[in-house]
């Protein structure tokens, strides 16, 4: 055990932890007028962390007595985490400052959530995995309730905290059963412990608890009831982060637990997983159809997107062909990345129209945006097209890869359900576009936020959505290498 050498492999985590401490300290010493400096400081720090990720790419080592693994899959998840972090940090301050929410705490808590996602992605032991999960979700509860003087934020934060704690306990209970059955918490040892021949009541209980707890974390139906309230209550740009950040982490958890530790049992968990996938896609979309509040509509549609991503995992589980299984994981990774960029940006545009603190993201705020702010309306238009899945945006390719993986794995019926759902989703996404370009502005139109950070982040996100849509090749080849480290 050479822990000093192992330090190099966790360089990104160390730098991120240092960045958290730097932010806390700097926040103490700068005056209120200079708090905005925290944002460029955080973004700069995250770029340094990203550079450290380049250093550990292609390490593929198990470190710290098998507690942690730095494989390409984890590095990909971490890179996506950095992207999410940078965009979120740029979008949020303008919204928070108007509502007098302290920026120092926001940056620190957000960075902690990112660190939790790092740990989650790299866990090769269920103990580390659980700690990563907690380090990711604890800050998420805080972020939801960050707007202390707003009772919707209080309500959302409390609901998320209570239900999330239960889900964490359920995951932990499932882990303890798995430990009881295999005598180990190490993920690769569990995979090699020959569970597949021994389907028993205890294994069923362990699987049940793990599925319930982890699908709660990705907000799959029927464990999604916390989502709309938590997402609506949270400050809007933070909702964007919550709808993708913890979800990315939870998918990393699903990959580690179900596609790695419990891969030998995939025939057993596939059935229940398919039911959840179909329910999640369909119910998320049906409820999103009826929403007239864009923020709430995006919250429900994020449930539907969870369902689309789950299709990729189902494709992984439904095949014995390694190439097809890898394709399933690859489609999950690409979808998570693309979805992260477009969804954070979409929530951020809703937030930009809430400069007036009495606005709650209603559809009417978008009326006539095409004439009032052509650039922002065009950006929102691109994001809506991408969320619908229309070429040449990243949303189209993400859906296409998931569909291809599902068809190749022999789940053509699931692919058909996905396409029907995507068609249904087009209605509520394009309705926003209709409001922006074909309705007259309200008598008292919502003031628009034009802070430089937000504008830059929006431009970057839209560029990302279009570039990843036009030239997905480079990212796909990285994803291929990442997914290969699972097999």
């Amino acid at each position: 055990m050479n822990y000093i050498n192992d330090l190099v492999t966790i360089l990104p985590e160390i730098l991120l932890a240092v960045l958290i401490l730097v932010i806390i300290t700097v926040d103490l010493f700068i005056s209120r007028a200079n708090k905005w400096l925290l944002t460029p400081l955080t973004v700069g720090g995250l770029i340094v962390v990203a550079a450290a990720l380049v250093v550990v790419w292609d390490t593929n080592e198990s470190v710290y007595a098998g507690m942690y693994v730095v494989d390409d899959l984890s590095v990909f998840f971490k890179a996506a985490t950095i992207v999410i972090g940078i965009i979120s940090v740029l979008f949020a301050p303008a919204y928070l400052v108007v509502r007098r929410i302290p920026l120092g705490e926001f940056h620190m808590i957000l960075l902690s959530a990112l660190l939790g996602m790092f740990v989650l992605a790299s866990s090769s032991d269920l103990i580390t995995l659980f700690l990563g999960l907690e380090l990711m979700t604890m800050p998420s509860y805080l972020l939801t309730g960050l707007h202390k003087t707003d009772r919707y934020s209080n309500e959302g934060g409390l609901k998320y905290f209570l239900l999330g704690s239960f889900a964490s306990a359920i995951v932990l209970f499932g882990i303890s059963w798995l430990y009881g059955l295999t005598g180990t918490t190490n993920i690769s040892e569990i995979a090699a412990s020959g569970l597949e021949g021994r389907m028993s009541g205890a294994l069923l209980v362990a699987l049940g608890f793990l599925i319930v707890g982890s699908t709660f974390k990705i907000a799959a139906v029927p464990f999604h009831y916390w989502t709309p309230d938590a997402y609506q209550g949270a400050p809007t740009p933070i909702t964007g982060f919550l709808s993708v950040g913890p979800k990315l982490g939870a998918f990393a958890l699903l990959v580690r637990v179900f596609a790695e530790a419990l891969a030998p049992l995939r025939a057993d968990w596939l059935g229940i997983f398919l039911v959840l996938t179909v329910l999640t896609m369909t119910i998320g979309n049906v409820v999103a159809l009826t929403q007239v509040n864009v923020k709430r509509m995006l919250a429900y549609s994020s449930i539907a997107h969870t369902g689309y991503i789950m299709v990729g995992l189902a494709a992984f589980a439904n095949t014995d062909d390694q190439a097809v299984a890898a394709q399933g994981i690859e489609s999950v990774l690409f979808y998570v990345l693309g979805y992260a960029i477009m969804n954070i940006a979409a929530f951020a545009v809703v937030g930009m129209l809430q400069r007036d603190t009495r606005r709650f993201g209603g559809l009417n705020s978008f009326a006539g945006l095409g004439s009032r702010s052509p650039a922002r309306a065009a950006a929102m238009g691109v994001l809506m097209l991408s969320l619908t899945g229309i070429p040449p945006t990243v949303g189209f390719f993400a859906k296409l890869y998931v569909l291809l993986a599902a068809v190749d794995a022999g789940l053509a019926w699931l692919a058909v359900i996905l396409v029907l759902n995507a068609a249904m989703a087009a209605f509520y996404y394009l309705r926003v576009v209709v409001y922006m370009y074909m309705r007259d502005p309200e008598d008292e139109p919502a003031p628009i936020d034009t802070s430089p950070f937000g504008t830059v982040a929006l431009a970057l996100s839209v560029a990302g959505v279009v570039i990843l849509g036009l030239f997905p090749g480079a990212v796909l080849s990285l994803i291929e290498v990442s997914a290969a480290s699972l097999f």
């Binding site: 932890a17 302290p102 620190m108 580390t128 604890m138 805080l142 205890a202 209980v205």
Partner: protein, 195 residues
């Protein structure tokens, strides 16, 4: 089965200095203790969620924590038991009692907010208990003949070698929890001043 017995006897002897895991077949002192502590944990746990007076709930929780500490001692993990007493029974329970006393104005009786869901909750809880109990009984757990040693030295070794990384992660988790708790508990006016 003579072979089995010849193995079992010396183990008994070796373990007699240290309390062993309870065996359901023999009604020795450790199984009696186990059942008493189990009643303490489960009974007090039910009391925590059903009692209407929040101070009564807090006291029931102390009983639950204390019984759990006894359970750890019975399983041959004295250091875990000591930590349970120090941290949960000592620090956390007292903090909770103080927090209640400082924040409660007047009558501490609260209406039960989930009252109407009570019957359904009981049915669901019983179903899950039944399922879990059935799974426990019908599984061969491959138990070790004796409890693994969990003395101070073993735990110290594990924490600072195998579990060094998780140990460090916990410190960050606690840091963010502390900062978050302070932020949420602080009055908005104090936020203004702090900025």
């Amino acid at each position: 089965m003579p072979a089995l017995e010849s193995v079992a006897v010396p183990e008994r002897d070796r373990l007699s200095a240290q309390p062993s895991q309870p065996e359901l077949s023999t009604l020795d002192i450790s199984s009696v203790l186990f059942f008493l502590l189990a009643i303490g944990v489960v009974g007090a746990g039910i009391a925590v969620v059903t009692l209407r007076n929040i101070i009564h709930s807090a006291v029931a929780m102390m009983i639950c924590f204390g019984s759990l500490a006894g359970m750890y001692a019975l399983l041959g993990a004295p250091i875990v038991a000591a930590a349970q007493v120090l941290i949960y029974l000592g620090a956390i329970s007292v903090l909770i009692l103080f927090a209640i006393m400082l924040t409660q104005a007047g009558d501490a009786n609260l209406p039960a907010p989930f009252h109407r869901q009570g019957p359904i909750a009981v049915v669901v809880a019983l179903a899950i208990i039944g399922l879990v109990g059935w799974a426990v009984v019908q599984t061969d757990w491959g138990l070790l003949p004796e409890a693994v040693s969990a003395g101070v030295e073993d735990i110290a070794n594990a924490v600072f070698t195998t579990f060094a990384l998780p140990f460090e992660i916990i410190s960050l988790l606690i840091l963010v929890a502390i900062i978050g708790a302070i932020y949420l508990a602080r009055r908005p006016e104090e936020d203004e001043r702090a900025n």
